[in-house]
């Protein structure tokens, strides 16, 4: 039996989309083998099938010369046959040869490049990554036209054979970290990688994985600037989210837009975000603590107004706030899942039916709704989605209800101790504030103008840190 026929009947017997097209060239039979759902058929016909059928004598060399495709290679091992076939290549076998020509004709339907819904901006580039790895790499390559931009390809997943690329600037990034990451990724033994989150979870360090230690972005401009800072990016085929590391917590307060407007405005917005983050997490707890224990802190007039509003509420403050928080989370989750057309109905149910009637029924008080609403709005001003904060908010509410300000302070210190002690790939998460790093503070909460950012963040590595006026170093 011809070897290619053997392939089709033994390995791919259950795959009806695997096609084996035979062409007779003189005395020899050429077999073109491909997965019809994964390749560009017109390209196959023009660049492979027609040139081969025009040949008078079919030899391996002749066929190779006749094919017009740019990506072409010889393969002769079983594993490569399967992987290249399933990656969208056509395989050309001549007679009973066990060697094949692999021609990349992959044509997958890819979503067009749009602005990512998670990080929309009013100023700056609006491109977002898509699910195709090559498109994503091309978007970064277009911005970083440097031979130092290194792309190391790895294949992960026993069944998915997902392409994972480790991307970095060779003359800037920490080589040791690159090696560590490559080793870790290549050692991953898993049946499949569906999204970059799989890689993120596997690469996370530390026993208590409450905090994320790996950054991510859907925007090529953000990834390019992070690469220029000396970070390493990990692209995963099939995922529009690109991972970056090392990660700093301060990144959660930074928006892509920050770099396309005056630095004073950026600094102001970052301070607002920080206050929003802290208050968003603590406000429900503070409210519960004030109502339950420390009401003396409140101004008398405000206290009287508060008391008149909470009069007749049967639930204790802690349960009341937890109930409102729970209600809010239900509404948020429902609005995320519900079809857009039903969104209006949900708003009416949420705001009018649930909000007003529960207040009128005396289940919850208006101040508690106001507190949870303010807290939730504050959490939404953080540019990145940080799921931990809503959990912390519930925790601080419970502590505030049980032990007042005292308990909240102690819990706050414990939480900050955890943050302070956390490192991600040798980089302290709270850098440049704990430990202090004077140079890196130039682009932390306070952002200096672009021309003052003369160096790259030194926390990632100490070599080649000159950013402005450092041509000789490059």
């Amino acid at each position: 039996m011809v070897f290619s026929k053997y392939l089709a009947t033994s390995w791919f017997k259950n795959n009806d989309d695997v096609v084996c097209r035979e062409i007779t060239c003189g005395a020899k039979t050429v077999c073109v083998f491909f997965v019809s759902s994964m390749i560009d058929k017109s390209l196959l016909a023009q660049t492979v099938l027609k040139p081969i059928s025009d040949l008078k004598s079919a030899s391996f060399k002749n066929i190779k010369q006749a094919i017009f495709c740019p990506e072409i290679s010889d393969i002769e091992n079983k594993k490569d046959f399967i992987s290249s076939l399933l990656s969208g290549s056509a395989l050309v076998f001549v007679n009973n040869s066990k060697k094949a020509i692999s021609i990349n004709l992959a044509d997958f339907n890819v979503r067009s490049i749009t602005e990512p819904p998670t990080s929309q901006v009013t100023k700056g580039p609006r491109e977002g990554f898509v699910e195709d790895l090559n498109t994503n790499l091309s978007m970064v390559r277009r911005r970083l036209k440097s031979p130092n931009l290194a792309v190391k390809k790895l294949v992960v997943g026993r069944h998915t054979k997902t392409n994972v690329c480790v991307v970095y600037l060779d003359n800037i990034a920490d080589k040791k970290l690159v090696k560590v990451l490559q080793d870790k990724i290549s050692k991953i033994d898993i049946d499949g990688i569906i999204d970059s989150y799989y890689i993120e979870t596997i690469l996370e360090e530390g026993k208590l994985k409450f905090l994320r230690r790996i950054g991510n972005s859907e925007k090529p401009d953000v990834i390019s600037s992070r690469l220029l800072e000396g970070r390493i990016a990990i692209f995963v085929d099939g995922s529009p989210i690109v991972l970056t590391l090392p990660f700093l917590l301060i990144e959660d307060l930074q928006s892509p837009e920050d770099y396309y407007q005056i630095s004073a405005r950026t600094t102001f917005l970052r301070i607002v975000r920080l206050i929003g983050l802290i208050l968003g997490v603590l406000l429900p707890g503070i409210y519960v603590a004030l109502q339950s224990y420390q009401y003396r802190v409140l101004p008398m007039v405000f206290l009287v107004t508060l008391l008149s509003n909470i009069e007749g509420i049967s639930l204790p403050p802690i349960l009341e706030i937890l109930f409102v928080l729970f209600l809010f989370d239900i509404l948020a989750e429902a609005s995320a899942r519900m079809p857009k057309l039903l969104g209006m109905a949900l708003s009416i149910i949420g705001a009018l039916v649930l909000g007003e009637t529960t207040v009128q029924a005396g289940i919850i008080s208006p101040p508690s709704i106001v507190v949870v609403a303010i807290s939730s709005i504050m959490l939404f001003i953080i540019p990145d989605d940080v799921p931990q904060v809503s959990l912390l908010r519930i925790l601080f509410t419970i502590v505030g209800g049980v032990a007042g300000f005292y308990g909240m302070l102690m819990s706050f210190i414990m939480a900050s101790t955890y943050l302070v002690s956390a490192d991600g790939y040798g980089v302290p998460l709270l850098s440049p504030y704990a430990p202090t790093n004077k140079i890196d503070k130039h682009d932390a909460i306070i952002k200096k103008p672009l021309l003052d950012l003369k160096t790259r963040p030194t926390v990632f590595q100490k070599k080649n840190i000159t950013r402005i006026g450092g041509k000789k170093h490059e």
Binding site: R296, V420, S421
Partner: protein
């Protein structure tokens, strides 16, 4: 930098935080009970003594830059003596740690939770302090960097707020007490002094290419004491004879500042933030205890030592103040004399060891040549 080393900057910040915690809580209330309006003189007198011994600590660091106290003594006088000194340090820091521990209790229990069972609620404090101490010196150092600005700003605002409503005429007449009275008050409350002991314990743990301690640190300490003395004056001018019945300077100093505005006590948030200083200083003391315990048991079990030291602190507080009914003042008078002896003898002893070690080193170098 490993888990048990900090930068020079972090060590200095930690030191400042510890002085805030030791000097600006209960101490001025107790001073005013003994010497009235001359409370600030006692502070300056104690600070002057501290400066002398702080300079000795710097001298030890200059003579033997990268050695811990344990290493220094074990190299010169043997491991037994070193372990004995560690035991003394354990006692010293445990009894010192009880002070901010009680101060936190006073601030929260007396001002906010009148009927709260402290032994139950102190578990929160014990957990926070224990977690910090368990995380190691690096985490404590980083926390000091994170919180110093917040603590200093809170304390500064509180003192300034208090200064606006203070009648500074109340501090007069100055020097209306004799030196014996001042020195006696200092001896009775000397457990609150001797902040340089932290540096003594951190020697060899400060990660720096140059010397860990510098003469400028003494100057910083002196300036801090002058600011604290101002705080004491404001505090006394606000409360005069009632100053001794207050529980903490920090929680009382701004009490009158916002009353005219009838806005409640929003300054309480600042008081709350300033309490972070107590937690950090407590964790530093506990680190010193754990480190000394670790030295005694062979430098292998820091985690266990930190847990043991936290449990001992909790039990000490329970047995001394809650169970046996020892009064806070009584405890202070007894422990004051003991701690003063340790504060004065230990640096001198360490200088002696440092000189010995230097001579030994010189001898070795000569012999090699």
């Amino acid at each position: 930098m490993n888990r048990f080393s900090i930068t020079r900057r972090q060590a200095l910040f930690l030191f400042i935080i510890c002085t805030i915690s030791s000097k600006l809580q209960t101490l001025p209330c107790m001073f005013s009970e003994d010497v009235g309006n001359n409370l600030w003189l006692v502070l300056l007198f104690g600070a002057a003594i501290d400066i002398i011994f702080f300079s000795l600590t710097i001298l030890i660091n200059h003579l033997c830059p990268n050695l811990t106290i344990y290493d220094l003594i074990s190299q010169t006088l043997g491991k037994v003596v070193a372990k004995l000194v560690c035991f003394v340090l354990i006692l010293y820091f445990l009894f010192t740690a009880l002070m901010p521990y009680e101060a936190v209790r006073n601030v929260f229990a007396n001002n906010l939770f009148d009927t709260l069972p402290w032994q139950t609620f102190s578990i929160f404090l014990i957990f926070a302090v224990g977690y910090l101490a368990f995380s190691g010196l690096k985490t404590i150092g980083r926390s000091s960097e994170l919180y110093l600005v917040i603590i200093v700003a809170s304390v500064g605002i509180l003192v300034v707020l208090g200064a606006f409503s203070a009648d500074f005429g109340n501090i007069l007449p100055v020097f209306n007490t004799n030196f014996a009275e001042i020195s006696k008050t200092y001896v009775n409350h000397s457990i609150w002094f001797g902040d340089y002991m932290i540096f003594l314990c951190l020697l060899g743990r400060i990660d720096t290419s140059k010397r860990a301690l510098k003469q400028i640190d003494v100057l910083i300490y002196a300036w801090l004491m002058i600011f604290y003395a101002f705080g004491y004056i404001v505090f006394y001018c606000l409360y005069t004879v009632l100053a001794s019945s207050q529980t903490s300077l920090i929680s009382s100093i701004s009490a009158f500042s916002l009353l005219n505005l009838s806005v409640g006590r929003p300054d309480w948030f600042l008081v709350l933030l300033s309490q972070i200083a107590s937690v950090l200083s407590l964790s530093t003391y506990l680190y010193c205890v754990s480190d000394s315990l670790n030295n005694i048991f062979g430098k292998k079990h820091y985690a266990i030592c930190s847990i043991i030291s936290v449990v001992i602190l909790y039990l000490l507080d329970f047995l001394l103040f809650s169970h046996s009914g020892v009064s806070y003042m009584g405890y202070m008078h007894i422990s004051g004399v003991i701690s003063l002896c340790i504060q004065l003898i230990l640096p001198v002893f360490c200088v002696f060891c440092a000189v010995l070690a230097t001579l030994k080193n010189k001898k070795h170098t000569k012999e090699r040549k």
